[in-house]
Amino acid sequence: MRKETKYVSYLDYEGQYKGIFGWIFSTDHKRLGLLYLYAIALFFFVGAILGLTMRVELATPGETIMKAQAYNGVFTVHGVIMIFMVVIPGLSAVFGNFFLPLMIGAKDVAFPKLNRLTWWILIAGSILAIASQFLREGPPDTGWTFYAPYSTKTGTSVIIATTAAFVLGFASILTGLNFIVTIHRLRAPGMKFFNMPLFPWALYAASWIQLLATPVVGITLVMLIFERLFGIGFFNPDLGGDPILFQHLFWIYSHPAVYIMILPAMGVITEVIPTFCQRRIYGYKAIAISSLAIAAVGFFVWGHHMYTSGMSEQARWFFSLLTFIVAVPSAIKVFNWIATMYRGSINLQAPFLYALFFIFLFIIGGTTGLILGAVAPNVQVHDTSFVVAHFHYIIFGGMGFAFFSGLHYWFPKMYGRMYNLKAANWGAIILFIGFNLLYFPQFIIGYQGMPRRYYDYLPQFQWAQTISLIGGIILFIGFFVMVGNLVRGAKKGAIAPANPWNGTTLEWTVPSPPPVENFDEDPIIKSDPYDYK
């Protein structure tokens, strides 16, 4: 078909621009994937440092290292950074950009220039968000939820933080739009929807949520900004508005946003497990359709964040019922992953280890989510550290560990080099231990009444806060082991073959690192993407 071209990896390619401009002006989805990776790793580090300062503050009752107002600022900015800048773009922007085109046999995403613009928008929004921490008015102290009417009244820099969230939302919308069009239009000849690997399926479902839910929170945040600027009373009861309305509008986006985070994470796990068991994925169609089902039902469960805010009894049982229904497709995935492992030839490497930890932590996070989804226990533990533990188990234990899993899985493809396998396993184990020490005690003291977002606590919770602090420190040690190993691997690691894990999806058919145009000739599409022989 095409005349033979010399192989040049995307890392070495010299285009129109040189040096760093060859990266930040690049429209190559692979380079943009790495740019997202570096940006998000940096934001994650900032957010994690803020998280650690909170744990240090909570080391003893009363004031330890900061006052209440400073603590309010730290947990707000921690939340804004981690939610809007790390986990929402996280998997879809990094691995979606890098591997979606490779996995469906395309040369790039549908709109490469838009893709580049999206990265720039993300950076602009992130600068605003981080700036909000340092402005004269002081960091926003509303929590990442920006609940009205407090957010309409506080003197801190709420406007800049909400503007940041709005801008970051724009980036999220454009990523979703790009991926949906890419999947519809750029699948390689012969690849039907049900021949796609399951990571693209998960991205497809998440992209629809990004596209349809984000505008709602966007307009809500703009209304909040105008309310502060002009004294409009949409959400302020003194002026006739309704603060509950703000909560509804906020969660109409922010609950589906949880699925923006977790669906691509599930997609990564669905890729890792069959590869490291050398076994066809169990229940391909069930997993593909359950992604869409989660996306669809996920739009209608937002009320479970608001059981104690003032809702009718009917609304509460309705949202509770839907919350239980949305757990079903998640459970379908878990059962299918475990069934895939049955009689597989398991290769216990770091990506698989992270995937196992993901399943373990996701089950804890998911079942405590059902406790919270039931109305009666929710009223008991609402706004306690039980909720904090639950969502960290989902977001960090779920999405975070899936991110690490994907990073170790695709690392040889991205850099063409291999990290130290043994050190990677140790990193995973240390992270797992640190994570559980940090968050599990919060379930217990939350149940006993430890409120969230307090910088102070009763002496009887001391034991758990101490364990959490130790867990936090171990977690940091785990990060350093993991990141150090990966950085060393990227620079000096052994040269990786094209297919180190014996994977079957299309990204493993091209050289590592991939050439600039991904595929020099149209890839051969198998009807079953997970065909292990």
Binding site: A110, L177, V181, R185, L211
Partner: protein
């Protein structure tokens, strides 16, 4: 299938561009959808104030603006059909007419808002703070929704002007007109939102 023929060698994909625009239009609908939700809740809470508030608006100017936008939707459709039939001149004329109508809409809006401002009625004004809650919310929503819509008119005008210059430069032509088609799609969206805004704001008395 064209998708397959295009896959390896051809970078241009009109279907993808159109799909992208439709998806973007969905996000715009949901953006305004959030506002319409807020509107419906406050209107059901304060039906009398909304009724009285709408009496303050000029149905005549609103109706003229509705007609202007409907005609502009027609003219942009003619511009698109003209380029498809290779009638570049007509297409350019129709695009200019559309932009002119959009500007006329904004001029009307300016006089409408200006009269309100003249009476001290604008977000953040002293008069607004004195109004009762229902009126306050009605006028807040009025300014917010029509203001956001006006912003979309301006964005639409810019898109149409870019299309105009692309037609002029020969970059948008008979067999390559997606830019104009997408600008026209966006313009229809702006028109459509007004079709809902007009009765909800002006005609509820």
């Amino acid at each position: 299938m064209s998708q397959h023929e295009n896959h390896a060698f051809e970078h241009r994909d009109d279907e993808a561009k159109k799909l992208g625009m439709w998806l973007f239009i969905f996000t715009e609908l949901l953006l305004f959808g959030g506002l319409f939700l807020v509107y419906s809740i406050f209107r059901s809470q304060y039906p009398d104030s909304f009724h009285e508030g709408s009496l303050e608006l000029s149905v005549t100017i609103g109706a003229i603006n509705t007609i202007i936008l409907l005609v502009s939707s027609a003219s942009v459709a003619v511009a698109l059909t003209a380029i498809q039939k290779n009638n570049t001149k007509l297409s350019m004329q129709m695009l200019l007419l559309t932009v002119f109508l959009a500007a006329a809409f904004l001029v009307n809006k300016y006089f409408e808002w200006g009269a309100k401002f003249h009476h001290g009625l604008y977000p953040g004004s002293e008069l607004m703070q004195l109004l009762d809650r229902g009126h306050h919310l009605y006028f807040s929503l009025y300014f917010f929704m029509t203001g956001l819509h006006a912003l979309h008119i301006i964005i639409g005008m810019i898109l149409l002007l870019i299309s105009y210059f692309k037609v002029k430069a020969g970059k948008v032509k008979m067999d390559d007109f997606m830019h104009l088609e997408n600008a026209a799609l966006y313009w229809h969206l702006v028109d459509l939102i007004w079709i809902f805004l007009f009765p909800l704001m002006y005609l509820i008395s």
